[in-house]
């Protein structure tokens, strides 16, 4: 059976409709919005924390959203092995909720940056990435002011050791270097999973690269892989 997706709507979420549209209209899946004041996850199989500026992000990105009533349910869900994907602001919220290790600092340029980037799939054994090919980088856009991944050296070592780094920023031919790093992230990290492998956080927006009308399709590979892996 195909998974049912739930897209959480925080006040200030602004990629909630984009995620909904990509999952529902492009991939033809069952999707529902989950309101931040509610606690019922409505039997969803995969929870999406979408991009945006939850609560305005005036304090620190994601810092307030993690205290939303729905987040208690999301945390419980994750402890039972439930699948969660946090995109952009959603990734920031997952870090604030300590469901994933590390922090996201202001971009090295100190500027917001929106553009298409290339990602290498570093680990294609996870629930989220199984079936994606490592040899060809994915072209998926980013749009954030605070996407500069930082962690202390022990955390970083453990991420590497446990194969938790899932996506890295690269050039179009797959080179991961300073030039292809859009925000200063350590090791060009663009997305990671938790140790349990059921929670993914990523700065790039796969939901923005799903509609062939927009000339970008690689995002649907990522979302499509999740569906396939759920069904297997």
């Amino acid at each position: 059976m195909k998974p049912k997706f739930g897209v959480v709507v925080f006040p200030g979420s602004n990629c909630d409709h984009d995620a909904y549209y990509a999952l529902k209209k492009i991939l033809g899946l069952d999707v529902t919005f989950l309101w931040h004041k509610d606690t019922n996850l409505q039997d969803c199989d995969v929870i999406v924390l979408p991009g945006g500026f939850s609560y305005g992000d005036y304090l620190r990105t994601g810092a307030i959203a993690r205290f939303s009533p729905i987040m208690n349910s999301v945390i419980n869900f994750s402890q039972k092995g439930g699948h969660i994907i946090g995109i952009c602001n959603g990734f920031q919220i997952l870090l604030e909720a300590q469901l994933l290790p590390g922090v996201l600092l202001k971009n090295k340029s100190l500027q917001f940056v929106c553009k298409d980037v290339y990602l290498s799939v570093e680990n294609n054994e996870t629930f989220f990435t199984k079936g994606l090919v490592k040899s060809k980088p994915l072209k998926i856009p980013i749009a954030h002011g605070e996407g500069n991944y930082f962690a202390d050296s022990d955390t970083l070592k453990s991420l590497v050791k446990n194969n938790q780094i899932v996506f890295k920023y690269t050039s179009s031919d797959g080179k991961s270097d300073d030039e292809s790093n859009p925000n200063g992230s350590m090791m060009n990290i663009a997305g990671i999973v938790n140790k349990g492998g059921n929670i993914l956080g990523m700065m790039p927006h796969p939901e923005r690269a799903c509609n062939p009308v927009l000339g970008k399709n690689d995002g649907s590979l990522v979302l499509g892989a999740i569906v396939k892996n759920f069904m297997n």
């Binding site: 200030g12 945006g52 940056v113 929106c114 923005r208 927009l214």
Partner: protein, 740 residues
């Protein structure tokens, strides 16, 4: 607190003329109260009343075609795009606030124009920004540039509307008085269009959104005077933006509009509660009884005067159908926003304002508003002296450059020509997942999910041309916007305008304004693109200089068939390159003469509207028949700069070209001429005869100039440029200047 005594000297301080103050007394039959004086002063300010411009604006084509509401009737223009949908769009200036507080000034400019769109019931789908600054060599300019771009980015990014197009120009005339013109575009189902009206005696009046503070008091008055050293002290007149609250306000407003619980809704921008209560009442031939004690305040001890004049952002005034108050409240509570009943609609035509148990104002709403009692002036106009001098310039006296290659690279490096990547990468241009063509092409193309069509949107104005010839220059601004829309495969629908000029009390300034309006009217009638509304910003003068007259055009076009979407860059090797249109070696106001010879001189290029229209029709036919691979307008910098862009605009696939550019009298003149009504197209070789036949049939002048291919741009067999070098100049010049 004791209120100041109202007399002539206080009225003059509020910006009234003696004559206007007499008129206020006559309307009321008495001396106004202090609160009333404040209300009249903001409502009769240039910013709200358009008193020095409205007479001329009324000469523009303001209705007809697919317009669903006439210009000025609602918060934004509304155009039918079929399938039961309409597009709402408008452009507005935020120049004065941005000059003294660039970040918040620009941010609240974006916020204000977004509210104008969603008060129509439309969901904003795109944002555009037309920006003008002094020279980038100047540190203060770089400070303003950085702050304004950040302000626009932070507001739009958080609010969640993609910023997809616009323009940025640099010229000394904008030193100290930058222009920030923000445009927004929204989509609405025609059955859900909302109106800014109050009617039905006893219907409740509600204020929703943010609380009211002391920020922005007299912002409208501040925007109605020249910028001077004293302007810095007016920083408190600049409002502070909160995109998060605006996002909530958007969702809540669209929800209550869709449910049909409203009579009307208007945003609170300039002149706050004064403006929204009086305009909504006047529109519905009604009045309002308002109790200011009910307004949620964010500061203690505010007076009635301050509450009426506050320009705190992210607020709306709603008139609600009696009985639906609780439903409306419920929605705003869901979004954690204030929603208070502050009064009711009356049928006596009066604004009746009470505060803390006292009556503070009783004013006929009609007398306050534009189109009602607000003054209307025709100013004296006089052709400025400078025109004779600049137009007498003889271009043959310009020395011919010794090294054309070096000269080209210098012109091509001009911040006016190079990519504005440093700007647009700071904007989220993709949120809402409708951006088919984003920033950096001739116009942006936005997908309409509801009907599988697309909109092409663009802002445009070359103000140097307008300075040299206000009438022809403005026609060019309209023509070029339309050309950009057509190059993207769209059919031009309508325009909105943002008219940035100097002090209208100076006859020379008013003459420029009058000429520009005449030119705009002529061009818009010719292209059948009516004016849906817009904004006038006068007093764009700093102590040393007035800005170039800048009538920014915001245009929207419709792409019915997604296959028609066309982009500007070369697609494949070995394609044929044609120039459509004639060169007349026109250098007036050109980037070449400014950058290389340090002059802004001559007359603007000639514009023949019939020739232009024929070009559009021809190109649209070629696009319709699927014969075009790329189309790019020839503009600033001339044909070579545009060719270079065709080679490198697709960063991921640079494609060179070898071309021969027809030379008339002088090579530099032909290369850098900015003659209008010209487009570069590329086609595949197999379509050559079909294309030529159509061009000949349409009497469209054209020149085959060469082929695409390779890693170099080579022209006239002797000038060779590596694409890597051109690309580096194009994409990195501005960031290098800003990161120094």
């Amino acid at each position: 607190m004791k209120e100041p005594e109202v007399n002539l000297s206080l009225a003059l301080e509020h910006g009234f003329t003696e004559e206007e103050f007499d008129r206020v007394k006559k309307i009321l039959g008495r001396i106004p109260t202090f609160t009333e004086l404040g209300i009249f002063s903001v409502m009769w300010s240039e910013h709200c009343s358009y008193k020095n411009s409205i007479a001329l604006l009324k000469t523009l084509p303001r209705s007809g075609g697919k317009l669903l509401v006439g210009a000025g009737e609602e918060n934004a223009g509304l155009v039918d795009i079929g399938d039961g949908l309409a597009v709402a769009f408008k452009i507005e200036s935020h120049n004065h606030p941005s000059a003294v507080e660039p970040y918040q000034g620009a941010a609240t400019g974006v916020g204000g124009i977004m509210r104008d769109i969603f008060t129509m019931g439309a969901r904003p789908i795109a944002s555009l920004d037309s920006l003008r600054f002094g020279s980038l060599d100047d540190a203060h300019t770089r400070f303003l540039f950085d702050g304004i771009v950040r302000g626009i980015g932070d507001y739009g990014n958080s609010f969640g509307v993609p910023t997809v197009a616009g323009e940025v120009y640099f010229d000394e005339s904008y030193q100290g008085n930058p222009l920030v013109n923000a445009m927004a575009v929204g989509i609405v189902k025609i059955e859900h269009v909302a109106s800014a009206i109050a009617s039905g005696e006893g219907n409740p009046v509600m204020i929703v959104g943010s609380s009211t503070g002391r920020d922005g008091i007299h912002g409208a008055t501040f925007a109605s005077e020249e910028i001077s050293e004293k302007s810095e002290a007016k920083r408190p007149s600049v409002q502070v933006g909160d995109p998060f609250t605006e996002k909530l306000l958007l969702e809540a407003s669209l929800e209550i509009i869709k449910n049909g619980w409203l009579i009307g809704i208007q945003d609170m921008g300039a002149a706050g509660i004064s403006c929204s209560t009086s305009e909504m009442s006047a529109k519905g031939n009604s009045g309002m009884k308002i109790n200011l004690s009910k307004v949620p305040l964010r500061e203690k001890g505010m007076t009635a005067y301050e509450i009426m004049l506050s320009e705190s952002q992210e607020r709306m005034l709603c008139t609600v159908k009696k009985g639906f108050e609780d439903k409306v409240k419920e929605v705003f509570e869901k979004w954690d926003l204030h929603c208070e009943i502050i009064g009711e609609v009356t049928n006596d035509g009066l604004l009746h304002i009470d505060y803390e148990g006292e009556n503070k104002a009783v004013v006929p709403a009609y007398e306050l508003v534009l189109g009602g009692g607000a003054p209307v002036y025709y100013r004296d106009s006089k052709e400025p002296e400078y025109l004779k001098e600049v137009r007498a310039f003889d271009f043959s006296t310009l020395p011919e450059p010794k090294n054309i290659s070096e000269t080209f690279l210098k012109v091509f490096s001009s911040p006016n020509i190079v990519s504005k990547r440093w700007v647009y990468e700071q904007y989220d241009s993709m949120v809402r997942t409708n951006t088919i063509v984003g920033p950096g092409s001739d116009s942006a193309v936005i997908y309409i999910k509801e009907n599988n069509k697309a909109l092409a949107v663009k802002t445009d104005c070359n103000s140097r041309y307008v300075y040299l010839n206000p009438k022809e220059g403005t026609k060019i601004a309209v023509a070029e916007s339309a050309r950009n829309i057509v190059c993207s495969g769209g059919v031009p629908l309508a325009i909105t305008n943002c008219l940035n000029f100097g002090n209208p009390y100076k006859p020379e300034m008013y003459w420029q304004f009058k000429e520009a309006i005449n030119g705009m009217g002529e061009a818009c009638r010719f292209f059948d693109t009516p004016v849906t509304g817009g904004n006038v910003s006068f007093y764009n003068e700093s102590p040393n200089v007035a800005v170039y007259p800048t009538p920014t055009i915001g245009m929207v076009g419709l792409i019915e068939n997604l296959n028609n979407i066309t982009t500007s860059f070369f697609k494949d090797e070995n394609d044929l390159i044609f120039i459509l249109g004639e060169d007349f070696e026109e250098l007036g106001g050109s980037e070449y003469v400014k950058i290389i010879h340090g002059k802004v001189a001559g007359d603007s290029p000639n514009i023949n509207l019939a020739v232009e229209k024929n070009l559009h029709n021809t190109l649209l036919q070629l696009i319709n028949e699927g014969l075009i691979k790329s189309a790019h307008d020839i503009s600033e910098g001339g044909v070579t700069a545009s060719l270079a862009e065709c080679c490198i605009i697709n960063k991921e696939k640079l494609i060179g070209a070898e071309v021969t550019i027809p030379v008339k009298s002088r090579e530099d003149f032909s290369i850098f001429s900015e003659s209008q009504s010209r487009i570069i197209i590329s086609i595949s070789e197999e379509n050559r005869s079909k294309v030529e036949k159509i061009l000949e049939g349409k009497n469209q002048p054209f020149y085959f100039i060469g082929k695409t291919g390779g890693e170099k741009l080579i022209f006239n067999k002797k000038f060779t440029f590596e694409l890597a070098q051109l690309s580096d100049i194009y994409y990195n010049t501005i960031s290098r200047i800003m990161n120094e």
